[in-house]
C-alpha cells in the first residue's frame, strides 16, 4: 500500500523522471503536489466533505498496468479500460491508426508524441486549481491521450471505461482529447463499480482537457454509477474553437459524494455548447454539480440543462454559471435547473450565476425545485395506477424530455435502466 504520506516533493519528482517525463512535466507534478499540501478540501456552503481521509487510500496502482486483459472490449473498437486506476487495455483498431488518430495511455503519448503533449497537457487546466485537481495532476500517470487529426470523422464512439473494485483504492485519471478542425468524434465514458454493492471507500478523480479546432464536433457522453461508498471528483474543461460544437451529456447515479465541474469555454466565433446533465440520487448520496459556460467570442451559443430526482435523504446542488466576456456580442445563452424531490428528507438547491459584460446578448435562466405534486399523483391514481406507479410515471415523465435530447442512444437507455434498477432495489 502506498498512501499519500509516503510521497514527498522529491519522490514525486524522482518517479516522474524515472517514467521518462520531460522536465516541464516534472515541474508541473511538483507544483501540483505542493498545491495539494497547501489547499483545503473543496467544500462550500452546500457541500461539506465528511468522512474523507485522503491518507486512507492506496495510490500504488497509478503507474502499473493491470495483469488481466479486459474482457469488456469489443474487438474492433477504440477502447481504454482502467480497473482501480490500473490500465487493463488501451486498444485502437488499425483502421483508425492509419488515419493518424492517436489513442494511447499518457505514458505512451509522452514518449511518442512529446510535442503534442507539451502543447496540450495542462493547457486548459492548471495543476493547482484546487486540491483534488492537484491530487490528480501530481499522481495520475495512467491517463488517456486522444488526438484526431483534421477532417476525420469517427463513426463509432470511442469508449473510456473506468472500474472500481478493491476497497480503499484511489483511482486517478487524466484525459486529454484534441479534435482538430473539421473532425467529429463521440466519446463515451462509463464509470462503474465492478460490484455495485461492494464495500468502499473508493476515491476517484478525473481531470479532462478537451480542445476542439475550427468546425470540430464532439459528443461527450458519460455515465457514472460508482457504489455508494465512493468519493468522486471530476473537472472537465473544453476550449471550443470557431464554429465548433461540443455536446456534453452526463448521467449521474452513483457515489457517496460526487463533485463535478464541467466548463465550456467558447473561444472561437460561432462556437456552440450544449450540456445536459441528469441525476438520480437516493439514500445519503450527495451531488455537487457545476456547469459553466464562458462566452469568449461573438455569436456563440450555449445551453445548460440540469435535472435531478432525489429520493430518501439524497442531496444535490446544481450550479449553472454563465459568463459573457465583453467581446462576446450577439451571443445566446440559456440555463435551466430542475429538481424533483420524492420525499421530505431529499433536498436540492439550484444556484444560477450570470455575469454579463457585453450589451448585445441574450442570457436567460430558470430554476424550479419542488416536491412531487400530490395533485398529479391523485390524478394518475384515479385512473388506476397505484401510488408507487403514479410516482414513477411522474418521475419518468420529468426525466423524459431531457433524456430525449441526449444524442447518444446508449447513454439514454442505460441511464433509464439504471434508474429502473435503483428504484426497484
Amino acid at each position: 500500500m502506498s498512501t499519500l504520506r509516503s510521497f514527498s516533493v522529491d519522490t514525486i519528482a524522482e518517479q516522474a523522471a524515472s517514467r521518462g517525463e520531460p522536465t516541464w512535466l516534472v515541474q508541473k507534478r511538483v507544483e501540483a503536489f505542493e498545491a495539494l499540501q497547501r489547499l483545503p478540501l473543496p467544500e462550500s456552503r452546500y457541500t461539506k466533505i465528511r468522512g474523507l481521509d485522503l491518507n486512507a487510500f492506496d495510490f500504488a496502482g497509478q503507474n502499473a498496468h493491470h495483469a488481466h486483459i479486459g474482457e469488456l472490449a469489443a474487438e474492433r473498437e477504440a477502447v481504454h479500460i482502467q480497473l482501480d486506476g490500473q490500465i487493463l487495455i488501451t486498444q485502437v483498431p488499425e483502421s483508425l491508426q492509419s488515419k493518424g488518430i492517436v489513442f494511447c495511455d499518457m505514458a505512451t503519448a509522452i514518449r511518442e508524441h512529446p510535442d503534442l503533449v507539451k502543447q496540450y497537457l495542462f493547457h486548459a487546466i492548471s495543476p493547482s486549481e484546487d486540491k483534488m485537481t492537484a491530487l490528480v495532476s501530481a499522481l495520475a500517470s495512467s491517463g488517456i491521450f486522444i488526438y484526431v487529426p483534421k477532417e476525420t470523422v469517427l463513426t463509432e464512439p470511442v469508449r473510456l471505461v473506468y472500474l472500481l473494485d478493491e476497497p480503499s483504492v484511489a483511482a486517478l485519471a487524466h484525459q486529454v482529447i484534441i479534435i482538430e478542425s473539421g473532425s467529429s468524434v463521440t466519446v463515451l465514458e462509463e464509470a462503474y463499480a465492478k460490484h455495485p454493492d461492494g464495500p468502499g471507500p473508493h476515491l476517484h478523480g478525473t481531470i479532462s482537457e478537451v480542445y476542439l479546432g475550427e468546425g470540430a464536433r464532439m459528443q461527450f457522453g458519460a455515465l457514472q454509477n460508482w457504489n455508494e461508498g465512493t468519493y468522486s471528483f471530476v473537472r472537465r474543461r473544453a476550449h471550443v474553437g470557431r464554429d465548433a460544437k461540443i455536446q456534453w451529456t452526463i448521467g449521474w447515479l452513483g457515489g457517496r459524494l460526487t463533485m463535478s465541474s464541467v466548463e465550456s469555454r467558447l473561444v472561437g466565433p460561432g462556437a456552440e455548447m450544449e450540456d445536459i446533465q441528469v441525476l438520480f440520487g437516493r439514500h445519503k448520496q450527495h451531488f455537487d454539480l457545476t456547469s459553466s459556460l464562458r462566452n469568449m467570442a461573438p455569436h456563440v451559443k450555449g445551453e445548460i440543462h440540469m435535472k435531478g430526482v432525489l429520493k430518501d435523504q439524497a442531496r444535490a446542488v446544481m450550479y449553472g454559471f454563465i459568463r459573457v466576456d465583453p467581446v462576446a456580442q450577439q451571443s445566446n445563452s440559456y440555463q435551466l435547473a430542475q429538481g424533483l424531490l420524492l420525499n421530505d428528507g431529499a433536498h436540492c438547491d439550484a444556484i444560477p450565476g450570470l455575469e454579463i459584460e457585453a450589451n448585445d446578448v441574450r442570457a436567460t435562466h430558470g430554476a424550479s425545485i419542488g416536491p412531487i405534486d400530490e395533485e398529479q399523483i391523485f390524478y394518475l391514481q384515479s385512473r388506476g395506477l397505484d401510488r408507487e406507479q403514479a410516482k414513477r410515471t411522474i418521475v419518468e415523465g420529468f426525466l423524459t424530455p431531457t433524456l430525449e435530447q441526449i444524442p447518444i442512444a446508449g447513454v439514454r437507455e442505460r441511464f433509464h435502466a439504471f434508474v429502473e434498477q435503483k428504484w426497484n432495489e
Binding site: D373, E374, E375, Q376, F378, Y379, L380, Q381, S382, R383, G384, L385, D386, R387, Q389, A390, T393, I394, E396, G397, F398, L399, T400, P401
Partner: protein, 265 residues
C-alpha cells in the same frame, strides 16, 4: 344486477372546514344523475371525495359502491371497482404521452402489472394493437387529432381539448359509474355537443353517471333521469328533468332563501 353508488349522510371536511354537511344520494348503472348548484355549494368536493382525494376527509357517513364501503380505499382501488372521475381541471403531466399512459392505466385496471410473473407476450401484443385501434376510434369520436396520443398528457392542450381528452379516457377505461365534474364548463356549444354525444354512447344498463354542472345546456343533450340541487353542502331538492327548466327560469336564489329559512327554523 345494477351496480349502485350509495352515498349516505356524507360529511366531508377540507383542512378542518366542513363542506359537505350530510349528502345522501344513490346512483345506479343505467341512470344519469345531474347535480346543479351555485358556486361553492360543494359539488366539486363531492366529486373529489367520491374519488378519494387525500385532502378531502370524510368525517361522517358512508360511501358504498357495489355494497362495499370505499371510504378507506385508495383512488386506484376505487377506479378498479369501476369508478371514474372526469376532472374539472385535468392535470398536466410532462413527459408522459397520453396513449402510453392510458395503456398503463388500462392494464392496471385489468389487474395486469409487470410484477405478475411471466406475461404472455403474444396476447400482450394483440391487446396492445386492439387498444391502439380503440384509442384511434375514441379520439375520432371526440373529434381529437390522432397526434394527441403521442403528446404529453394534457400538456399544451387547450381547455376544451383537456375536457375531451378526459372523455376519451373514460371511454377507454369503461367505468361503471362516472362522475363528470363540470366537464362542460369552458367548452363551446359544439364541444358540449360532442362530449354529450360521447356520454350518451356509453349509456345503457352497465353505465351510470353523475354529471355536475352549472349550466343546463349539456343537460339538454344528456336528458338526465334525475336532477339534484346542491346548496351549502346539502342536496336541497331532487326531481326529474323539469327541475332543470325551473332552475333556468327562476335561478337558485329562491332555493337559497328556502334553505336559509329552514336553517333558521
Amino acid at each position: 344486477m345494477a351496480s349502485v353508488l350509495e352515498i349516505k349522510d356524507l360529511h366531508v371536511s377540507v383542512e378542518g372546514k366542513e363542506i359537505l354537511k350530510g349528502v345522501t344520494l344513490n346512483v345506479k348503472t343505467g341512470e344519469i344523475h345531474s347535480i346543479m348548484g351555485p358556486n361553492g355549494s360543494g359539488k366539486s368536493t363531492l366529486a373529489l371525495a367520491l374519488m378519494g382525494h387525500p385532502k378531502y376527509e370524510v368525517t361522517q357517513g358512508e360511501i358504498l359502491f357495489k355494497g362495499q364501503n370505499i371510504v378507506e380505499l385508495e383512488p386506484n382501488e376505487r377506479a378498479r371497482l369501476g369508478l371514474f372521475l372526469a376532472f374539472q381541471y385535468p392535470l398536466e403531466i410532462q413527459g408522459v404521452p397520453l396513449g402510453r399512459f392510458l395503456w398503463a392505466a388500462k392494464k392496471a385496471l385489468m389487474g395486469q402489472s409487470q410484477a405478475d410473473g411471466q406475461p404472455d407476450k403474444k396476447a400482450d401484443a394483440k391487446a396492445l394493437s386492439e387498444f391502439r385501434k380503440q384509442l384511434q376510434e375514441k379520439m375520432k369520436l371526440l373529434k381529437m387529432d390522432e397526434s394527441f396520443a403521442q403528446r404529453y398528457l394534457n400538456v399544451g392542450f387547450s381547455g376544451g381539448e383537456k375536457k375531451r381528452a378526459e372523455i376519451v379516457q373514460m371511454h377507454i377505461l369503461k367505468p361503471e359509474i362516472a362522475i363528470l365534474d363540470e366537464t362542460d364548463s369552458g367548452l363551446d356549444i359544439d364541444s358540449v355537443k360532442i362530449v354529450a354525444e360521447a356520454v350518451n354512447q356509453l349509456r345503457g344498463p352497465d353505465f351510470g353517471a353523475l354529471v355536475i354542472t352549472h349550466y343546463q345546456r349539456i343537460l339538454n343533450f344528456l336528458k338526465p333521469d334525475y336532477v339534484h340541487v346542491m346548496i351549502d353542502g346539502r342536496i336541497v331538492r331532487s326531481g326529474d328533468e323539469s327541475l332543470v327548466h325551473e332552475l333556468e327560469a327562476k335561478g337558485y336564489d329562491w332555493l337559497i332563501h328556502e334553505t336559509k329559512a329552514k336553517a333558521v327554523r
